[in-house]
Point group: C2
Chain length 481, copies 2
């Protein structure tokens, strides 16, 4: 491989160590995931970025349908009066919505916000269609974009408009709704771990961090390369709060009027940010095989020589029946191509030159480890299939190992402050569940509660990291995106 070409391209990406934020922006732009626009805080998702989202969508949508969910589409606008029906909800969202005030040249009688989330619209619809216990549950989802008027924005992580799915379900009983909330958290965790190769901590948010209008918010939290946490998906249990605010009732089996219980859950294009910051390196993206737009790129070597392009094309044609494969026969040098597809995070590069053809072999190069493998062209599909599986496992394990290494336990405020200042990562510490202590930890150590991991007992033994009083919960703290 041409060292010069490699150096030239790598130069264009700031190194992680020098400036992680700039590295992130460089990767987003140079690997052509996004482009900035004339619309402040909004981005173009370019074909390479959108193809990752399409793969995420396809897999997640399949998981939703397997668990009995159906897709619908609600309007993108919410009349102000509808947004105001649930008190906590409107308080949480009103400060950050975009308002439509005019249609054409006419002023609207009532202004409309562009949905920041659609609980109110789903409730408005449920009220129309739910009458009897026979109408329950409704297990709905929609794939749309939402708008939140953020002050500071970053590609994928925080933008004024972002793509997501929002699941909204309504059930006869609190128990069923509660079970759905946890079930979808499990779907989210499985998706992140199996397909994005990102280990996550499943937990419950503190009251302070809870979704506006929820009784309980469940979350999965991932740890990025720089030691910051990224909330990667949330699942909310609403109890009957929304149903009461919207007057949704149903006749139960005894023909008595009852109030249903609800959930909602969402994952967003933020996941692409999580992929970049979990797996990427100084050469660019490293994409998990399950969502990579191209899983394997065929690069002919000395392609001007007789038969090389033909053989490479033949290999490519056989691969693309089974994988998302690509071939680059452009006039660029092999070195340029190597750097290009490294930057774009293609999991496997397949090199094929005249000598390889003579020996009926090719060279496979793993993006995640840079390992080179000389393998026979016989059974190349099976070889690559197995390699992609290995890559997935190994990417997951590497991320898990890093997270474990970067997870610390602390016992008092000094330790918390010291760790927060000097050791980026998750910080495990006990907490008394008083809001005051949570606020103080933010003030003193700059950390927020990420979640209270699932599976712990109600009253844990030990002392609150902040006030020293008896603790109630183990909490993961950290700095977060």
């Amino acid at each position: 491989m041409s060292k010069l070409a490699k150096e030239k391209l790598v130069k264009e990406i700031t190194s992680m160590e020098d400036d992680f934020a700039q590295w992130y922006t460089d990767v987003c732009l140079k690997s052509e995931l996004i482009d900035y626009t004339s619309v402040k805080g909004c981005m173009v998702i370019r074909p390479y970025g959108y193809a990752i989202w399409e793969n995420i969508q396809r897999i997640l949508d399949g998981m939703f349908k397997e668990t009995g969910h159906e897709n619908v589409c609600m309007p993108m606008f919410i009349p102000e009066s509808l947004l105001q029906k649930e008190k906590d909800h409107v308080e949480g969202f009103a400060p950050e919505v975009a308002w439509v005030t005019h249609g054409g040249s006419e002023k609207l009688e009532e202004r409309l916000c562009v949905r920041p989330t659609s609980e109110t619209l789903f409730c408005d619809h449920y009220k129309n269609i739910i009458h009897s216990w026979r109408d329950l549950p409704k297990l709905y989802n929609q794939w749309v974009s939402v708008v939140r008027w953020e002050k500071t924005t970053r590609p994928f992580l925080r933008s004024r408009e972002f793509l997501w799915q929002e699941g909204h379900t309504i059930h006869a009983t609190a128990e069923e709704a509660q079970a759905e909330t946890v079930r979808m958290l499990d779907v989210y965790a499985e998706f992140c771990e199996k397909y994005l190769c990102i280990p996550v901590v499943k937990g419950i948010k503190t009251e302070k961090e809870r979704f506006a209008g929820a009784v309980e918010t469940y979350t999965i939290e991932a740890l990025m390369h720089d030691g910051k946490a990224l909330q990667s998906g949330t699942s909310h249990f609403f109890g009957d709060g929304f149903a009461k605010a919207f007057g949704i009732t149903y006749a139960d089996k005894d023909n008595k009027l009852a109030t249903p219980h609800q959930t909602s859950w969402g994952m967003t294009t933020r996941l692409i940010g999580a992929v970049i910051m979990t797996h990427g390196d100084d050469s660019g993206l490293i994409l998990p095989p399950a969502v990579a737009p191209k899983q394997v790129m065929v690069i002919p070597i000395a392609q001007h020589k007789e038969g090389v392009i033909e053989k490479a094309t033949e290999v490519y044609e056989s691969l693309r029946k089974k994988f998302r494969a690509g071939i680059d026969v452009s006039e660029q040098s092999p070195g340029w191509k190597f750097s290009e597809y490294e930057m774009k995070g293609v999991p496997v590069r397949l090199e094929l030159g005249p000598k390889d053809i003579e020996k009926n072999q090719c060279v496979l190069v793993r993006r995640d480890t840079a390992e080179k493998l000389f393998v026979s062209l016989d059974g190349i599909e099976e070889t690559i299939e197995k390699l992609l599986e290995d890559i997935s496992t190994s990417m997951y394990n590497k991320a898990l190992e890093r997270r474990e290494t970067m997870t610390y336990s602390v016992n008092d405020l000094d330790e918390m402050k010291d760790t927060a200042d000097n050791k980026p990562g998750f910080i495990k510490a006990l907490w008394c569940m008083d809001r005051e202590c949570e606020d103080k930890l933010k003030e003193v150590a700059g950390v927020t509660s990420r979640c209270m991991p699932l599976g712990q007992q109600d009253n844990i033994e030990g002392k609150c990291v902040c006030c020293g009083k008896p603790a109630k919960k183990l909490v993961y703290w950290g700095k977060a995106y």
Copy 2:
């Protein structure tokens, strides 16, 4: 089948002859395609309606990708100054856009419209990414919703927000862009005819009906059951007008600065309206097999008898490997179920009772013709596969025959007026290409030009139907949705 149940359900749908508009609304609501919302002019697309859209999306998206297109995602907002860059375009769209004026509690420095279409956003992006002939063409598409502030709205046909795909491409030469425009019109026509079983007339719009900013607008026009035309898809050739307005240039192979040429093309949820009004009848929907959410519904007869549900489930399980199949084992009567799935337009009903099981047979009922077939359970998958193909062909032929029967030719203004008043359908007539005659036909006969069919010579022989002067083009006229 229980006659009572049938009558009960059919009563809920107004007959087409009594009131076609009410029939249409009834079908949309009763077959649970949509629901109205608190947001004026916007609808909920319910699971059954959205599943049709998902099938349309999947097939069309496959056709786009096969022809080399990539998906992207642009912001939903357009700054006012950006919308104003192309003069004709802003004149066409500004009167019907929704304006965002506030983000949270702050007034925006510049107001943003919610995209009515995204030419301006694509141009803004092209300007950033196109520098050399090597960067061309870009063949982009996006699946999003757009907003147009319509005064009178109807489900699927005209709503303030609708779902669509918008293709946007940019090419080195006018010839390439022109070829793309026609190629995508052909894709649209093929999709309508092959998958929606809707025959269409391919043609060019008159200047009056042209898309705001286009040099030429191509269209496919379908004829609905009531004799009104429905514009079902359009493909626009822009020449270099947008590129010039936005200052998009590239260095050609001789390193000279050149201006690229553009196209755009779109199809919308309106297609679902076309399906309803082309194929439906007084019992409800009749769905083309390619986009039907369920292609075959299994209905057990006398399901309380031993072994019936088991056998029906066994048949269903084998069918769902190959088809979008369903089974209804609810406590409702068979008659109720027959009416329900007739209303929902499921192409094939499979009835299976104790006597059928004894004979190793079942009853297949076609939704389109009500024909009953007694067939063996051996090879039932192949039988149904063939039947679905037959249904598609026959639905297309029926629609084509009706369109032919409802297409008239007229020679002068009296004939035009008489036909327009008394014979709903397409009206073929020659035209001198003067805008005045086009306006007069609208005023006198209430018809608009639908399109100038492709393939005709530049100067056709004969006289203009309006002024009697030498004609230039054959035009399809009609009343339209």
